[in-house]
Symmetry: C2
Subunit: 205 residues, 2 copies
């Protein structure tokens, strides 16, 4: 039985979305940890305590964004281009997508991968979502490598983790050095093709 929303519930849902949207804007502007309930409330035209009708705590807002971040991230990775292309195309596409997600969603990325908030610990449910999505992405990499276009002297899992580390390092340094530049530009943002080349040169038959 599909749940029918009353008008009241719809309005409520819209307010929730607005809170999350404002929260993201503020996080983008001033950093994830600087988010303040007072600012959200002011921008919504209400008093701070009224927010507690919609979220149990500030961390509950973080938690919902954390969870949605991983859902979104999973979609980006699932729908990335060149999935039936060559290994080289696939690796470039995967790394670029990862970096683009981070660059275009720096607020979510910080929340998801950098733990910048003192008291915030993801709820069990959000953590489960996060682990499932990360697992799915790991699976993509492993399957890529198992296609056997390459010769490895090390287990697939290690090869996969090396790629993940490379991708993560490039992304972190891109965001640290030129966060405003799109993927493909900047000291680190332009190095994805070179990174893929190293991997292929080392492993390709």
């Amino acid at each position: 039985m599909a749940k029918q929303f009353t008008r009241r519930e719809q309005v409520r849902q819209e307010t929730i979305e607005e809170i999350l949207s404002i929260a993201r804007e503020e996080m983008q502007e001033n950093g994830v940890a600087a988010l303040s309930l007072g600012v959200i409330a002011k921008r919504l035209g209400m008093r701070t305590p009224s927010l507690y009708t919609y979220f149990d705590s500030k961390n509950a807002i973080y938690d919902e964004l954390f969870r949605r971040g991983f859902v979104e991230f999973g979609q980006w990775m699932d729908e990335r281009p060149h999935q039936d292309g060559t290994l080289q195309q696939n690796l470039q596409s995967a790394m670029s997508t990862y970096m683009r997600f981070a660059q275009e969603n720096q607020d979510l990325y910080q929340l998801m991968f950098q733990r910048p908030v003192p008291g915030f610990v993801p709820s069990e449910e959000s953590m489960a979502v996060s682990l499932a999505r990360l697992d799915s992405v790991r699976g993509q990499f492993t399957r890529l490598l198992e296609r056997e276009e390459i010769t490895l002297k090390i287990p697939y899992e290690e090869a996969r983790d090396l790629i993940i580390a490379f991708q993560h390092g490039l992304t972190e340094l891109h965001l640290a050095n030129s966060p405003e530049l799109p993927v493909g530009q900047g000291r680190f943002g332009k190095l994805i093709p070179q990174a893929v080349q190293i991997i292929l040169d080392a492993w390709k038959k």
Copy 2:
């Protein structure tokens, strides 16, 4: 003319060191951003406002630790083993030292490379120290590559940045996944030799 310390100044200096030492302990324990002046004061047996005799603000404490962190980091990298060894030994030593520094000084590492504190911006002086040390480390890498044991299709600067990204990614993921395990163990902490091997396989003559 070397400055002579009066006894008064010595005692004061010792208190400053103690504040910094307690701050590091607390940061290791509860995370960098969770540091509280109240706790420091309590452990020192004084009232919170009294700390302002020694530091102008909480951020001034962060700033001093940030600065010292980079000095310490520079020493680790300057004194790392195998500097007159083979390229492989050098790369492994550099990456291991970087990761070891991060693992054994997680508080400083967070402060230096992850900006986990909302309002904290390093002072100009500390920033200068930081940039100088990072520059020196970059120089080490560039010189290593210029020894010409390898053939590159890309500029030295790009090759160097690829290595830095690899090293950084492995370190971040090691700290995120098994912060308590020493370098050499754990899913990512054990991958340094494999990472170096990839680089060498791709570039070695």
